[in-house]
Structure formats: structure tokens, C-alpha cells
Symmetry: C2
Subunit: 247 residues, 2 copies
DNA sequence: CGCCTTTTTGACATTGGTCAAGAGAAGTGG
DNA sequence: CCACTTCTCTTGACCAATGTCAAAAAGGCG
């Protein structure tokens, strides 16, 4: 009884409950029964929203939790020795951040909000404990990691076999698809990241990104104005993305 | 009693038991108690050794098991639509193959033996079932996947920020380190893969691989004769590998 | 409104790919 | 065991894609 009240109160004040979260069908609790979802819900910690530029966690910090993005977006950046930073990932709502920290027990990169962003913190030890008795949750966790592995392989393919044009086309079609799955327009969206971030992520110089965006525009593939993007010819963009650079 | 006999017999005939496997300290059963290891052992299936060029499994085949490499080596190759093949990974003894198939329930690439190779087959449903009651095993499984994620990020960094020389240097130092961890010489080893495989993996043309190997040789970094490699100046190679290409 | 950051554009340099050809290795069958 | 075929690897000449440097234009924020 008290529990329910607290639960209700929390949901009103902070909208923290998975049951009422519009992302639950894409997120970890996917496929959990009501009872299980309640338990899962109970281990989640709310965080104050991150402001643009704020870090969710920093590289080499001890690993303790994974995070589900609730709204906004983030980038993961790794610094290595002398080298420049490398942007290894962008995270959108419902995606899980921090899974690559499990192995070495610290986060292998700094994760920074690209805009105002809210996340659910999921302490990993408690998640694992829960997973012990919930095969569904366990499966979902495996799947999340496995999916990330597959995405990484796709990225490796992009980096080693695609031309700059194809990389940009892939970037746009992939974003478009991710927005679509989350119920947003796949044709019209706002980039939360700078050109420099895109270039870093795709392994291209900023200037190249800028030039190719210009070319896409004159080719009638997209209309870009600052960070506002309108995809005009998705099929053509998809075709381009799926071609492969000579080599 | 009968169990023990069968167990013994199996171990003599096929050397399948984890307890007697020299890799157990690097492999999944790492950190399992004796009892747990016996149970783990029981779910493992032996396979006939693969001959050079034989496939362990093919792309898009239904996912059912992960595999631990026992001896030899393999490569994973993904074909995508019209594009050329992309070599996404090499696997050495004690490494786990197939984890990226969990999510979509089929293998995202074909895995082929580079030489005579033996593997342990671990049916995934049984592994997961066991993981339910063995937190150690569960942890080990998470760690394996997480490590692969980290390795992938390193690879992405290599592909997007390193010059051809730095890539080759990384390739050699990484191989060297992997051999060292497995108790082999870090200075002298045999490449089981062709130059074309190395090039494909590193995102370089075969010719470039060949040329740079030649240059490394005249610089006194390595001595290469066919697939026989002697690392002459590991520190220098490491330095080179850790530099980062302009950009 | 002015400063600072982000983006665009231009000129030029460099890395690494492509094509072509030849030298070695290695597997195959007589 | 050798001759033949077929890969695999190396080398050279040339070229295209993309990076670098420089500077101007456009945005965004206090």
C-alpha cells in the first residue's frame, strides 16, 4: 500500500516508472511481465537531467552502472595516450550506455550530453542479480550487447570500405531509421551533434563533411540548414549508403 | 561412477575436459569452482577438427552455439549485398566465437579455419541455463562480450585515425601480445593468414601491406619471410602503433 | 552589438589505391 | 619426384580521394 503510493508519487513527480515510459518497448524491460517490470523498476535510479556538454561519466572512472537514455542524446569519446579523441558512438533514447565498461570495470570513454538529456541509471550488480531469476531480462541484456557488437562490425565495414560520400549517406540513413523506430519522422530531424563530431565519428575531416553535405544538397538528396535536416530522396541515399567504395 | 568412467574415457580420447585444458585460465570456465566446472564441461560438445579453409558456420545460419577456440585460428568474414567481403575478426585459442549472433539469432558472418583448428561447441541455451545458477559464469560471459566491444572500439579507432604503417604496427604488436598471453613467444610466430586477409582486416590494399612489410624490414623493425615473423624491435613497433595518424 | 565558435570554401599536398607484370610458393597429378 | 598450374606475394608507375592549411562567412550567446 505504502509502496503503491510511493510508486505513484514517484511516477507523477519524475515519470520514472518503466510501465509508463513510452520507450519500454525498445528498452531493456522489453518483454518483461508486469511483476518483473515492477522489480526492475525498483532498482532504477533517477538522475537529474544533464545539460548540454555535461558528462554522464568520465573515461577510466570505476564502472558501476549502465544507463538507458530517456530523452536527448549523447556521444562517447575515448582519448588514448598522445592521440586525439575518437568519437565511438552516439546514443539515442532507449539505447544502453556503458556496457563496454563491464570487462575492465571502468568506463573506456567519456560520455557527454549533446543537448539536455535524461537517463535512467541501472546499477549493474543489481541488474545482474535480477537477471539471475529473470531469463527474459538476461536474454534482453545479451541481445543488447550482441546488437552493439553487430553495429560495431557495421561501423568497421563503413570505416574500411566506404568512401566519404557513402559514409555520410550511411550516417543519414541510419539516423533516419533510428528516428523512425522511435516514432519520429524519418525525413525531418535536427542533428544534435556538430559537424566536427560527425567527421570524427566517420573518420573524416570536418571540411570533407561540409563539402559533401553541400554536394548532397545540390544533388537534391537532402536539404540541410545548419543542423536542421530534411531528407529528400531516401531511396537514393540508401542506395548510395549500400554501395561500397572501390578498394 | 559410470559418469566418471565416461568422463575419463572422453578425456583420454578427445581431451575435451576443461579441467585438463591448458586454456582454462583464459577461457570461459575461468574462475569456476571444480563442481561448477564439471557441470560446464558436461554441456560442451566436441567437434571434429576443421581443416584449413573449412567453415565453422556460415553467414545467416541460425544461431545456436558459441564456440571456444581450442587450437588453430579462424577468421570471420561478412558479405553484404553487392559489396565485397569484409574480414571482421581473427580468433585465436581461448577466444569465443559467435557472440554477435545472439541478437538476431543468426550468425552475422561466416567463420573459416585458417589452418587445422579445433573448437569446443557450447550450446547457448544450455550455457544460459547454467549461467542462471552460476554468477561467476554469468560474469565471465558478460566480460567476454564487453571485451569484444572494447576491442571493436579500438579497431574503429585504428581504422579511422591511423596511417597504414601504424595499422600494421598495431596488428603485429597486438598479435605479439596475444601470443605472449597464451604462453608462446611474443617475438617469433607464424602468420596463419594471407596478406590479403591482413589487408582486408586493416582496410588496406594487399599491395600496401606488402610494401609496408618491406619497409619495416629495411627499418629493422621485423624480419619477415613468407608467413614467418620475427619481431626485432618491439618497443619501436609499439611506439609506432600508439602514435596516431595526423587527421 | 560584438565576441567566439561553427561552418563553408578554396588551393594545394599526400597517402594509399589501382593496374600491370613478374617472382615465389604451394598444391596436384602423372 | 618432377613438371605444371594456380595461388600468393612483391614491385613499379600513375592517379584519385581526402587531408591540411588558410581565410572568410554565418550562427549563437552573453
Amino acid at each position: 500500500m505504502a509502496d503503491t503510493l510511493i510508486g505513484r508519487r514517484r511516477s507523477i513527480l519524475q515519470e520514472t516508472r518503466c510501465q509508463t515510459c513510452s520507450l519500454s518497448s525498445l528498452c531493456l524491460p522489453l518483454a518483461l511481465e508486469v511483476d518483473d517490470m515492477d522489480q526492475f523498476d525498483a532498482i532504477i535510479r533517477r538522475r537529474a537531467p544533464l545539460k548540454k556538454g555535461e558528462a554522464l561519466f568520465r573515461q577510466d572512472t570505476p564502472f558501476s552502472s549502465v544507463f538507458a537514455v530517456r530523452s536527448g542524446s549523447l556521444k562517447q569519446v575515448t582519448t588514448e595516450g598522445s592521440g586525439e579523441d575518437q568519437l565511438t558512438n552516439f546514443y539515442l533514447p532507449s539505447e544502453l550506455v556503458g556496457l563496454d565498461g563491464i570487462d575492465e570495470q571502468h568506463y573506456p570513454g567519456t560520455v557527454v550530453a549533446l543537448e539536455t538529456t535524461t537517463v535512467c541509471e541501472i546499477p549493474f550488480d543489481r541488474l545482474d542479480h535480477l537477471a539471475e531469476s529473470m531469463p527474459e531480462l538476461r536474454g534482453q541484456l545479451y541481445r543488447s550487447m550482441s546488437k552493439e557488437l553487430r553495429d560495431d562490425r557495421r561501423m568497421m565495414r563503413l570505416l574500411s570500405r566506404k568512401t566519404a560520400d557513402q559514409r555520410l549517406a550511411s550516417f543519414f540513413t541510419s539516423l533516419s531509421e533510428r528516428f523512425r523506430r522511435r516514432g519520429y519522422s524519418p525525413y525531418s530531424f535536427r542533428l544534435s551533434m556538430a559537424r566536427a563530431d560527425i567527421g570524427n565519428y566517420l573518420g573524416l575531416a570536418v571540411e570533407t563533411v561540409s563539402r559533401i553535405l553541400g554536394r548532397f544538397q545540390t544533388q537534391g538528396l537532402v536539404a540541410v540548414s545548419g543542423r536542421e535536416v530534411n531528407i529528400l530522396d531516401l531511396p537514393a541515399l540508401t542506395r548510395l549508403a549500400e554501395e561500397e567504395g572501390a578498394h
